[in-house]
Structure formats: structure tokens, C-alpha cells
């Protein structure tokens, strides 16, 4: 008769020691103590040196400088900002500008990247070569160079405001930037937003219900006409009942410059173009790799089930490819956000440029400012990495199941 395996005796001290040493015995613990001692010695040396050096240079340490008046202007601020505002306000302005250009870059990089990836996989010879050439050229030139190219060679060479390139008479591109219509909210805006949200929520609910019914009873419900009607109808109804949600202030050429409209600075345009085209080349390779990594048999299996080609793509290929694409794609988004700090080269007022550039040279608080700037980028990276880990864990679980 086989007896159940005896449970090991409960010895908390030994288990604790093993956990501490990672299973390498007392030698491991001694090594760790030595390592910790070395780290403490290094850190204390750094702190003491920094302290004496700062005292020798008569620089006050601490974050008190944040409430001081900045006294310099910033040429693009998403929140109200004037020269009389504090350094903390400068920090916020810079952070918002960084986030703005990152989001614009991410949207366009994703669109261009997916398009180029599909182009490279296309059976059309010319399109495939064109996409390949794009990827190879863009990936092999430094981003800083491309940024300066767009800013100095392309945007600065545009005509002056009087000879602007017109986009259907609505927006104008010239060497002072990109002038677009200014959007102004009207009284109907609230109702319009509510209508859109309600339409989206109702459509999602219908889709959810239809899917449940399909899985439970195998019946297919045709929901998309109703969803479309809701998505188009509710906003139109709100416009009819409550009036237009927004009005547009169109730019008009008056004298030597444009009156009305919103001017997007050439720095922002150059940075957005450079970041999105550069990252798009990397995204294209990530997407192409993901699509090619799904084995050909999956496609053939889908075909032998009688699925149509779009259905195979939607139900078989893309879900499997997405699993491979998403982690490196997120990595590229993070790279884009970090690369946006190169804005300092063309004077776009992002976090790094206004805070670690202008504010640092004005106050001399190098330790605090560099630490804050690094902390912001680090926080963005770590939060995204953590989310990706959760997603990876979720995927791993569903693959095991």
C-alpha cells in the first residue's frame, strides 16, 4: 500500500533563509550583504559629494524653486500660461505638450505603419518595393536628422502666408505653421456629446446581446443597420433639436498674416511628422512580422471550413497576429514618447525643452529638475509596461486554458 508523501517538516527559519539567499546557502547571503554594503557605500559617497559640491556652488537644494516666477514665455500652451506663472506651471505646460505630440504621433504612426506593412505584403510589385524602400530609408537615418530635415528643409522652405498652400480654402500651410479652422463650442454641444455617447453605448449593447444569442442558440441577428441608424440618427436629432454643437472660425488672410483660426506651430508640425513617419517604419516591421508569424496552415484551415477571405482575416489571422504584435507595438509607442524629447533640437516647448532646458539653465537646480523629468518619462514607461504585463498574463492564461 502506497502511503501519501510525507509533508516536509515546517521550519520557518530555514525557509526564510532559503528565500533570502535564493537557494544558494549562507554564501549567497554573505555575498548579498557585501553587495548591499558596496551599494550603500557608493550611494552615500554620491550623496555626500553632491551635498558638498552644491554647498560649494551656493545652490539651494529642494523643491522650493517650483513656486518661483518663471518669467519666460512659451510659444505653445494648452493651459493658460503667462510669464508671471510659476515653474510648476511651466512643468505642467511642458508635460501637456509632450503628451499632445505623443498622442498625435501615435495615431499617425499606427495608421502609416499598418498601411506600409500591408503594402510590403501586397502582391503588387511596385507597392511592395515602395514600402520596402520607405522602411529601409527611414529606419537607417537618425531621428534627429529627420527632425531637422522636416523643420529646416521642408517647413522653412514653404511659401510665406500670402502665398500659402491652401487645403480646400479651409486650412493653410505656410512657413509660419499650419492654420486650421478654430472650433468653438455652441450651446448644443452638451446634448450632442450625450447623443453620441448614448448611440455608442446602445450599439455596443446590441452587439453584445447579438453575440450572446449567437453563442447560446446559434442564431445570427442582423444588428448593424440598427446600430448605423442610431449612430447617425441620434446626433442628427440632437442638432435638429438643440442646434449645432460647434461653429468654425475660418482663417482669413488679412494683411500679411491670417486672422481667425488656430495656428499650429511649425515646430509641432515638424515634430509630429518626424515622429510619426519614423516610428511608422518600425511599426510596419512589427506588424509585418506578426502577420507572417501566423502559420500558413491557419489560413488554409480557415478556407477549408468555408470561411470567406475577410472572415479568415478577421476571425483567424488577426487575433493570432495581434497577440504577437501588441507587446512590441507598445514598445514602439513608448519609444515615440521618449523620442519626443528630441523636440529640444527644434524648440518645440515639450517637457524636456522648457523644463530641463530653459528652467534648468535659469535656476541651476540640476538634480531636482533632471530627477523630475526622468521620473515623468519613467512613470509613463513603467505604467505602460505594467499594463502590458497584465495583458501578457491574461493572454498566457487564455492560451493555457
Amino acid at each position: 500500500m502506497a502511503s501519501a508523501p510525507r509533508r516536509p517538516p515546517f521550519r520557518p527559519l530555514a525557509r526564510f533563509a532559503r528565500a533570502l539567499s535564493g537557494g544558494t546557502g549562507w554564501k549567497g547571503i554573505a555575498g548579498q550583504l557585501l553587495f548591499a554594503g558596496l551599494l550603500v557605500w557608493l550611494m552615500s559617497g554620491i550623496v555626500i559629494n553632491a551635498h558638498t559640491n552644491l554647498q560649494a556652488q551656493h545652490i539651494a537644494s529642494g523643491f522650493g524653486f517650483l513656486s518661483g516666477t518663471a518669467g519666460f514665455s512659451v510659444n505653445q500652451a494648452l493651459i493658460r500660461y503667462s510669464e508671471a506663472d510659476t515653474y510648476l506651471r511651466v512643468f505642467e505646460v511642458g508635460l501637456l505638450n509632450t503628451l499632445l505630440v505623443s498622442i498625435i504621433g501615435i495615431v499617425f504612426a499606427t495608421l502609416i505603419g499598418f498601411a506600409v506593412a500591408l503594402g510590403r505584403l501586397s502582391p503588387n510589385w511596385l507597392l511592395a518595393r515602395l514600402s520596402e524602400g520607405y522602411v529601409e530609408i527611414i529606419r537607417n537615418l537618425p531621428l534627429l536628422f529627420q527632425l531637422l530635415f522636416w523643420y529646416l528643409a521642408v517647413l522653412a522652405a514653404l511659401p510665406n502666408p500670402r502665398q500659402s498652400l491652401s487645403v480646400f480654402g479651409l486650412a493653410f500651410l505656410n512657413n509660419r505653421g499650419f492654420v486650421v479652422p478654430h472650433v468653438m463650442p455652441e450651446p448644443g454641444a452638451g446634448a450632442f456629446v450625450v447623443a453620441i455617447v448614448a448611440a455608442i453605448a446602445a450599439s455596443l449593447l446590441m452587439a453584445f446581446y447579438a453575440r450572446r444569442r449567437l453563442y447560446r442558440r446559434g442564431e445570427r441577428l442582423r444588428v448593424w443597420p440598427f446600430a448605423l441608424a442610431l449612430l447617425a440618427g441620434l446626433p442628427i436629432l440632437s442638432i435638429v433639436l438643440f442646434g449645432a454643437p460647434v461653429s468654425f472660425d475660418l482663417p482669413v488672410l488679412r494683411g500679411f498674416n491670417f486672422a481667425g483660426g488656430t495656428r499650429v506651430t511649425p515646430e509641432l508640425v515638424a515634430l509630429a511628422i518626424a515622429l510619426s513617419t519614423y516610428t511608422a517604419a518600425f511599426i510596419a516591421e512589427v506588424v509585418r512580422g506578426g502577420l507572417l508569424a501566423v502559420s500558413k496552415g491557419q489560413m488554409e484551415a480557415g478556407a477549408s471550413l468555408g470561411l470567406s477571405r475577410p472572415a479568415i482575416l478577421r476571425l483567424v489571422i488577426i487575433p493570432q497576429a495581434m497577440r504577437l504584435i501588441l507587446p512590441p507595438l507598445t514598445n514602439q509607442y513608448l519609444n515615440l514618447t521618449k523620442n519626443s524629447s528630441l523636440a529640444v533640437a527644434i524648440g518645440y516647448p515639450d517637457l524636456f525643452s522648457v523644463f530641463a532646458g530653459t528652467a534648468l539653465s535659469q535656476t541651476g537646480q540640476a538634480v531636482e529638475i533632471i530627477a523630475m523629468t526622468m521620473a515623468v518619462y519613467l512613470a509613463i514607461s513603467l505604467v505602460t509596461s505594467a499594463l502590458m504585463n497584465v495583458y501578457g498574463w491574461h493572454i498566457g492564461r487564455s492560451q493555457r486554458a
Binding site: 539567499s21 535564493g22 544558494t24 503588387n124 507597392l127 521618449k338 540640476a366 533632471i370 526622468m374
Partner: protein
């Protein structure tokens, strides 16, 4: 029902079908890869238009509208050239040496050339698997060459050898002179040779190790004599005068070489079973990977000097190299681990 009903047998020859569409050769290529469906035809034309819009201005700027000859900036003005001006090649010609060497003194440029010629000469055989003597080659490239490059590019000499530095560490260095330098050198060489023979297992087994140490020191002596390192060496060229491609190559080669050991150490630390080591490696890697390179460079320029003792100054180029080595090391660690 008869058994020989042959109505299913064809009585006339089938009409000749049209020859199949050509799918080989140039015409076939056009048909199958460019113009095989309405969608593809549209894509082909769209691509052609895109290529035209990208290439036409480039060629116009670089070749057609470019100014090729001239002596000063007036040659590149539009009314002088008589047409809208694109690229101004005389400018590049005039500034070419600056793009390569920066402000490295003109009469000293042979040093930069020699350094990179040596690097290419040592690297090329390392990249061909068939060529023998890889250990010697790698040793020369990774250990001897960096020292040589330092003295060639920056210049300057040596006050003494190992014993001199040891004495300086204890604060009792002697006044440098030529005889003392060579005495120090030969003492160091003898000590190194003796210890190699001892560690190699006595005269019988350690002879070869001793011989190779002697040869190494002979090589070092040749370099010292050739560069006059014992008499002050080549004139010092401050790193602030370096520039252009020279700095690009120095930073990238040093960065690649220095980030490798950092990366290997961090990768081993991250996969280690020892908790403290693992936590430290993970934190270190994630920190450097989470911040942009430009903040790392600012960190190296503004904060590194603060962290060092007050009387200890560190060259600006070295600060950048430290920053790049740590940054690239963290990225390498993840590649090596994977």
C-alpha cells in the same frame, strides 16, 4: 439497353482554345504583379505618383538645380547662377574636413587617420572566420587598441608605469624622469613575467605564459618608444577640438564595446537566483530603458560632476561615453537575456 452505346464519345475535335495569357517574361511580370486587378492597377498608379513626388524634387535639388563649382558663397546665390539654386556643393567641399575631423588641428590629422586605419586593419581579420589567430587578434583589438587610440587621438605621455601609480595612490610619488620611467617599466615587466611563470605552474609549465608576457611588454615598449610616451608623447589635442565623423566613430565604437560587458553583467544579474542581485538588475535596467537618451546625456553632463569629489574633474566626452555605455548596456542586457 445496349452495352455499346457510345453517344458520350466526342465525334469532332474540340475547338482550339486561345493560348494562355503570358505569365513569364517582362509582359507577364507586368500582368501578374502590377496590373492584374482594378485594385492593383490603382495601387500601381498611386505608388508611381508617390515615387514621382518624392524623387522629382530630390533629383532637382541635388543635381539639376545644384551649383557644382565656385570659390565663395556668392557662387550659390540665385542671380549669380541664373536659376533657382538647390544644393551648394562647393560649400560641402570647403567644409568637408570639418565635417570629418571637427576642429582637430590640421597638422595632427594624420593621427586620426592612423587610428581608424589601425582599427579597420585589426577589425577586418576578426570578421572573417577563416583567418587564424583569433585570440591574439581579439586581444590586440579589444585591449591594446583602446590604449593606443587614446594616446594617438588625445596625445600626452606617461609619467611612470605601474609602480609610479601605486606610489601615487599612497601619496608618495617620486619626481618623474626618463631613467626612473624605464626602471619602473622593467621592474613591472619582470614582476609580471615572474608571476605569470609562477601562476602557470613553475618554469616547466609556465614558460610559455612567461614568454608571451615578455613579448607583450616588448610590444608595449615599442609603442612607448614610437609615440615618445616616455618624453611627453604627442601634443595634446583637447576633446573639445574633436568633432564631426571622428566623434561619431569614437562614441559609437566605445559605446558598443563598453556596453557589452555592462549588458552581460546585467543580464546575468537579472537571471540570477540571488534576490538582491536580481532586484538591483531589474531596477537598473528598467530605469535606463524608461528614460530618453537625451535626459541620460543631460544627467551625465549636469549631475555626474556633482556626484564626484570636488577636486575630480571629468572630461565632457568621457561623461557622454559613461552615459551612453550605461544606457546601451541596459538595452543590451534585455537582448542578451532573451
Amino acid at each position: 439497353m445496349s452495352g455499346n452505346d457510345t453517344t458520350f464519345v466526342r465525334e469532332t475535335l474540340a475547338p482550339a482554345r486561345k493560348a494562355p495569357v503570358v505569365t513569364t517574361g517582362f509582359v507577364g511580370f507586368l500582368r501578374t504583379r502590377l496590373f492584374n486587378s482594378p485594385l492593383n492597377i490603382t495601387l500601381t498608379f498611386a505608388s508611381a505618383v508617390l515615387i514621382w513626388f518624392a524623387l522629382e524634387p530630390t533629383i532637382r535639388f541635388m543635381l539639376i538645380d545644384a551649383v557644382w563649382t565656385g570659390t565663395d558663397r556668392t557662387a550659390c546665390l540665385a542671380d549669380q547662377a541664373g536659376h533657382p539654386v538647390g544644393a551648394c556643393w562647393p560649400f560641402i567641399q570647403a567644409k568637408f574636413t570639418q565635417l570629418i575631423y571637427g576642429f582637430y588641428p590640421e597638422d595632427q590629422r594624420w593621427r586620426a587617420n592612423l587610428t581608424f586605419a589601425l582599427a579597420a586593419l585589426l577589425l577586418a581579420p576578426l570578421l572573417v572566420p577563416k583567418i587564424p589567430g583569433k585570440t591574439l587578434n581579439a586581444g590586440l583589438f579589444f585591449i591594446a587598441f583602446p590604449f593606443l587610440a587614446f594616446f594617438l587621438l588625445r596625445g600626452g605621455g606617461l609619467d611612470g608605469f605601474v609602480f609610479y601609480w601605486l606610489a601615487e595612490l599612497f601619496g608618495s610619488a617620486w619626481k618623474p624622469s626618463l631613467t626612473r620611467f624605464w626602471l619602473d617599466f622593467s621592474l613591472t615587466a619582470t614582476f609580471a613575467m615572474a608571476s605569470m611563470i609562477l601562476l602557470g605552474g613553475g618554469w616547466k609549465n609556465g614558460r610559455r605564459a612567461g614568454l608571451s608576457t615578455a613579448l607583450t611588454f616588448a610590444g608595449i615598449a615599442v609603442v612607448i618608444v614610437a609615440l615618445h610616451l616616455d618624453q611627453g608623447g604627442l601634443p595634446v589635442v583637447d576633446t573639445r577640438q574633436w568633432g564631426g565623423l571622428l566623434v561619431t566613430l569614437v562614441v559609437s565604437i566605445t559605446g558598443i564595446a563598453a556596453s557589452m560587458p555592462v549588458g552581460i553583467a546585467l543580464a546575468l544579474g537579472r537571471t540570477s537566483r540571488i534576490p538582491l542581485l536580481r532586484i538591483f538588475s531589474v531596477a537598473f535596467i528598467e530605469f535606463w530603458r524608461g528614460v530618453p537618451l537625451i535626459t541620460v546625456l543631460f544627467f551625465a553632463t549636469y549631475m555626474l560632476p556633482l556626484f564626484l569629489p570636488g577636486d575630480f574633474t571629468i572630461d565632457a566626452l568621457v561623461r557622454v561615453l559613461v552615459g551612453i555605455a550605461l544606457f546601451a548596456g541596459a538595452y543590451n542586457a534585455e537582448v542578451i537575456r532573451g
